[in-house]
């Protein structure tokens, strides 16, 4: 069989639609997971020791086990205790928890990287803790975490492909499907790879643009 990209082009709309689902589950899990991540970070800094251990345990467990196994537990395991989630919600749940564990660490590093001298200078000017956080710490901290957050967003997007294993019809699932139907492995996966790559590149590029626009110092 000769290489013929023309033969698989008609399937592009199918792929793009599936890509839409990949993006949807990524965006949702990123935002919900990041909010959760802020709470996990606060838990780590809490004055209550049990809360600190809980947050720490959560982070370590999710950072040291594969997303695929987490999805198996959610999708195949939870029904045993009466919780039935469809592939979309299972994938969303797994990715959200995963993202929370990673962003909690990113937020910690970002806030710790703001020089203590700035906090002291704000204190010496009579600013309250909440004012210091809002006006002095927040912006530099966001600037410091943006590259890591962007990276995490891209990694999360790429790992949304794992949803295909529990039959979420996102891009990887669509590619495997089209591959079976057309047997044009090289063409299908090349176009699929390019779609993934372009999406990642757009995310990275937008982040850099945002960085230039938001942080001019």
């Amino acid at each position: 069989m000769t290489i013929d990209f023309g033969a698989v082009l008609p399937y592009l709309p199918v792929m793009l639609k599936a890509l839409g689902i990949s993006i949807e589950v990524t965006v949702l899990s990123f935002f919900i997971g990041s909010v959760l991540g802020i709470f996990v970070y606060l838990g780590r800094r809490s004055g209550l020791a049990p809360l600190r251990w809980l947050a720490h345990g959560f982070i370590e467990v999710f950072r040291n086990t594969p997303l695929l196994v987490q999805l198996y537990l959610i999708y195949f395991g939870l029904p045993e205790v009466g919780i039935n989630l469809n592939p979309f919600w299972s994938t969303l749940a797994g990715m959200t928890l995963n993202n929370a564990a990673y962003t909690a660490e990113i937020f910690r590093a970002g806030i710790e990287s703001v020089p203590n001298g700035l906090v002291e200078a704000a204190g010496a000017l009579g600013m309250r803790f909440s004012q210091t956080f809002r006006f002095i710490v927040l912006k530099p901290a966001i600037r410091n975490v943006l590259p890591a957050l962007t990276n995490q967003f891209i990694v999360l997007f790429l790992f949304s492909s794992v949803g295909s294993v529990i039959s979420l019809n996102e891009l990887t699932s669509a590619l495997a499907d089209l591959n079976q139907r057309t047997l044009r492995t090289l063409e299908i996966f090349t176009i699929g790879g390019i779609l993934y790559y372009l999406t990642s590149a757009v995310i990275a590029g937008s982040s850099r643009l945002a960085e230039r626009y938001l942080f001019r110092w």
């Binding site: 002291e120 200078a121 704000a122 010496a124 000017l125 009579g126 600013m127 530099p140 942080f215």
Partner: protein
Amino acid sequence: MSTPAMILAQDIHKRFGDLEVLKGIDAEVDEREVVCLIGPSGSGKSTLLRCMNALEKFQKGHITICGHDLTGSKTNVNEVRRDVGMVFQSFNVFPHMLVLDNLMLAPMKVLKVSKAEARERAMALLEKVGLVDKAKVYPTKLSGGQQQRVAIARALAMQPKVMLFDEPTSALDPETVGEVLEVMKALAEEGMTMMVVTHEMGFAREVADRVLFMDNGVVVEQGPPREIFDNPQHDRTRAFLSKIL
């Protein structure tokens, strides 16, 4: 003594864990007085200064500053700090704000001054420190000397009654030290009450009303600069001065 002292520290003891850093310090700064604090590194100069605006707590002794008693746990540190300006060795200008915004932030948020008034005050201060043309610039674009002048103006924007300086020129390139000392000298001439930790003996000799020599957590001797520099009474003072001059 006609007026009560602006700063009065009595028998201050301060320890970090097992390390006793201040071992019973007595110090006094009167209104419109400029006091320079000198001494070897590690002797506790910064710690003493930081105790004076409640950046550090101390275990024993009394400090009153601008009428605030720092000893009671009820003192509102933010109220103290409104009256006490501080300038750090490492500038600590806010990198994410324009120079003008650095000067306007605390007056607006802490003193609730209107934006227009804060701006007017900020521009006047920039004029004074010679940085009017840098108002709309990010501080990261400025030299060390310029950043430190911004930091001084930022502290002055709160209209403090006392200014504390912790080695304001130690982190500067030699060629920008002068411009910062000029600003400080002008401030002293206007009658600002100042306590300055410094290694600039020329400045201390010229501007200070009194010099305190600290070593190893105690004030070893104090007096007019002429006496301390030309006729030190203690061996430790002599040893320090011979190294630094």
